[in-house]
Amino acid sequence: MLVLWSWVREFLPSLKVSPEEAADKLTMVGLNVEEVSKVENDWVFDIEVTANRGDVMSHLGVARELMAIYGLDSLQMPIVIESMDAPIDKELVFIEDRFGCRRYKAIVVRDIPSDKNCSLIAERLEKLGFSSVNPLVDISNYVMLEVGQPLHFFDIRKLSNEKVIVRRAKDGEKTVSLDEVERELNSNDLVIADKEKVIAIAGIIGSASSEVDEETSSIFIESAWFDPILIRRTSKKLNLKTEASARFEKGTDPAIVSYAARRAVYLIKKFLGGNISRRVFVVGENVSPPKMIYIDINNLNQFAGVEIEKEKVKTILGSLGFEVETSGNLLTVVPPTYRRFDVEEKADLYEEILRFVGFDNLPYELPAFPGKDAGDPPVIKIRKRARTYFKSVGFYEAINYSFVDPTFNEKYISLIEGEEVELVNPLSNNNSRMRKSLLPGLLQNLSYNVRRGKLFGTIFEIGNVYSWKKSKNLFTEVELCAAVAGGKRGTPWDKIRDLDFYWFKGVIEKFFTDFGIELDFEESNVKGFRQAAFIRIEGEIVGVIGELEVADKRVHFPVWGAEFMLQKILEYAKQISVVLPSKFPAITFDYTVQHPKGVQWREIESVIERYKSKYLNTFFLYDRYEGKGVPSGMVNTTIRFVYQSKEGSLSKKDIEELHTLLIEKLDSWRKV
């Protein structure tokens, strides 16, 4: 909101401070002055008004705060028309919705010459960013900016009769507003109407049909108090925010309704001329009167953390227009009419007191708490370990938006059941669904990096996926950890191992074995993967791993991907107990089996498991080789066997015999 320094000063003729100082002081009581700029020989303040302070949305409001800041005695209020000898005409206004409209002041002014103007008003408006329309419209804006009461002027010629009705719109009733947009209304909307038509959407915008123009000579002045929620609801629905609605929706001062209308008449008569013909002041239901609030100085001091003297409290509240009565330590406080919407209870008064004591004048005190709170949820630790682990093996953490393109959920697997969650009001269609997998996002990150010249990608993410179960109307969020990798990392000089699938599998496996968890891999057809396996723990599917389908042709290498549920680690993690190694020497043999490529390692493993002797401590894949010297379609698998006993040294001869038996089994199995 823009405010003109010279205008504020009219309310406070005795105030002798620089605009910069005043701006600073205003900021420190909560009227954040974002900018002070010099315009001609004046200063414009740009003030950020918080949603609770409708009362400062005028020069009067800002002046009131300054009055309290500088401890001034009174405000110089603008001159209004004092005597109005025109007759009161009760027929002028009929309030049908007495809840929506609680006060309505109407004054009819006739014979306004159309050849006059008021440059002072137009100049001020323009400095504040309002373009001057015509002298009458300018005056209505001027009064709003001056005292915070939005006014509306109707051109009497354009009304079907000289009586306005404040009522709810009929369902489907239409009106073309001043901005030339046709708007459809319903019974939730409050309107001003004549006998035939809507002439204004109450508190928001007038209708074009009753607009004041250059030829207008007789006007109907409306100054009213409308229910804030009603105004806001319609303004939100129509997606139409005006200077008027911004004020009404925060609650205007019911005590200024009549004053503002009389101020407008004063300005019209002074600058343009004209005669008051009729007037009326109608009330609907009561605007709830300000409440009495009780505060105890001891409680206030405990809340503030310091002693604040009773006299100081009285002075602050008094200077802000609150009525204060004291009895001992107890204060009875009544807010002024313009503060009844945001000051309702003790805490609201504490705020008023503390912001004028000055937050910065209160000391710092670190509270001493005994012990700890309940403790972090266990998943926090797992998450941190996952991040540290993936970082340590060369992965970069990504954070992607939780909302994704609809194709993401269509094309990729989801580890969670249920339908996708759709946004009602997405920023765009490609951000309209809540993700069901982290993999498409990571793949997109990989493409992004490849497009920028990276020859590899190793990226991981930890975050939620979302689903909805229609039958139970249940929304589910499951935390996943996902990783993608591919390409060539480093240079030959760096001697970094290839990012091949078995490396990738090793990365995933090691993360789990660190928690004492063994994984099973079950080959399956999985959406979004060229080849994939489900990752199981003790039979339960907890994740998926494999080679991803990649649409982006610029990604010229295979991309490995894995995704798993973080929570499952909590469920299956085992305490690791150390297995002490044997003190006796080990005897190792290597043996190479040549077999068709289609034979899986697990088959070889199971043969060894079946026929191994009790002295075989361990065996593992030593190497695989295919190519020169190996017939095509075949592969040489070298296995290392480690014989070792915990009871004593093994004789090489005994072991050789046992080992030969095992090798025979392996050879005969191979021939089958």
Binding site: G30, A51, D373
Partner: protein, 334 residues
């Protein structure tokens, strides 16, 4: 009689064991120095009977030639090896494979650590929230103007993407009794998208509810926290503000830790203050909504945008960069 052949064998053994220049020098000393075996042998020639001198001389010469030849040969080989194994300390070390944690996460962990040290626990809640937890319980009834500041993504029915992590505070207060000391990190969503706003960003909020919690405690806690995060030298400024769920409410600025000399600072734009978080005393209406009696308990709450802090800390000019996940950017975070 001196057995030259045996000496030759001894030398062969000696030279065979040589694997360094140092050892070679030892062998040289033993055989070819002024006090070495060969010299001694020449001296002994006078004690040899005349008739055998010529033959002895021949044998000695051949041994001498052999020894010198072998030593020379060995020296050459050793020098070559040394040359070959010489380290070039200027060659780059091979790349160590290590990734990075996202800057936003790094900041979240820093904050968690600071508050853990003060005895706070982390609390978490769903990102898909309902109107009650995200707004109403926080004293933001329907059609409250404060809803404008938090333009909301809606899901189905009354579900929405939480606009702040405050609903976690509500859930915690509904689930257990004070004393409560929690921080709530997490993703939040608002329908904003420009250079400074991302439709998804991260918040950490804190909440303390206990008997006798005062405004000065809020100030003390934030001073401790922000000095841990930005350095001991910073000062705070509390500007009164408005949030529906705190009363009084404040915007908290830190004195700019980046201002240097007379240049206009890129971070604060020369204002010397950086707006860093919002805070306040928990509004009694919020306590009542959570069945906590504000006559017995009071509390404070604060909230800050992590992404902005990460941007300030790592001089990242545009919030989008945080979500591009560019490896060349991420790899600089440690």
């Amino acid at each position: 009689m001196i057995d030259i052949a045996e000496l030759k064998e001894e030398f062969k053994r000696d030279i065979g064991l040589v694997d360094s220049i140092k050892r070679l020098n030892e062998v040289k000393h033993k055989w070819t120095s002024k006090t070495g075996i060969l010299k001694n042998l020449s001296k002994k020639i006078t004690s040899i009977p005349l008739e055998k001198r010529a033959e002895f001389g021949k044998l000695l010469n051949s041994l001498r030639d052999f020894v010198r030849g072998e030593i020379q040969e060995k020296e050459k080989v050793l020098k070559e090896t040394q040359e070959r194994e010489k380290i070039d300390f200027s060659l780059p070390g091979r790349k160590i494979v290590q990734g990075a944690i996202h800057p936003v996460t790094v900041v979240i962990y820093e904050i968690i650590e600071i508050f853990n040290s003060l005895g706070y626990s982390v609390a978490e809640g769903p990102e898909i929230e309902d109107d009650f937890h995200n707004f109403e319980a926080l004293n933001i009834p329907p059609y409250h103007p404060a809803r404008d500041a938090q333009d909301t993504f809606f899901v189905k029915g009354d579900r929405l993407l939480r606009t702040h992590t405050s609903p976690v505070q509500i859930r915690t207060m509904l689930a257990r009794k004070p004393p409560i000391r929690i921080i709530c990190p997490g993703k939040v969503y608002r329908r904003d998208n420009d250079l400074r706003h991302s439709p998804m960003f991260h918040q950490v909020e804190g909440l303390v509810v206990d008997k006798g919690i005062a405004f000065t405690h809020l100030k003390g806690t934030l001073l401790y926290f922000l000095r841990e995060l930005f350095g001991k030298g910073i000062n705070l400024r509390f500007r009164p503000s408005y949030f529906p769920f705190t009363e009084p409410s404040a915007e908290v600025d830190i004195s700019c830790p980046f201002c240097e000399g007379s240049n206009v600072c890129k971070v604060c734009g020369g204002a010397n203050w950086i707006e860093i978080l919002g805070a306040g005393m928990v509004d009694p209406r919020v306590l009542r909504n959570c069945a906590i009696n504000p006559d017995n308990y009071s509390g404070f709450a604060f909230g800050l945008g992590v992404d902005r802090i990460a941007m300030i800390k790592y001089s990242i000019p545009n919030i989008r960069i945080l979500f591009d996940n560019d490896i060349d950017v991420l790899s600089q975070i440690n």
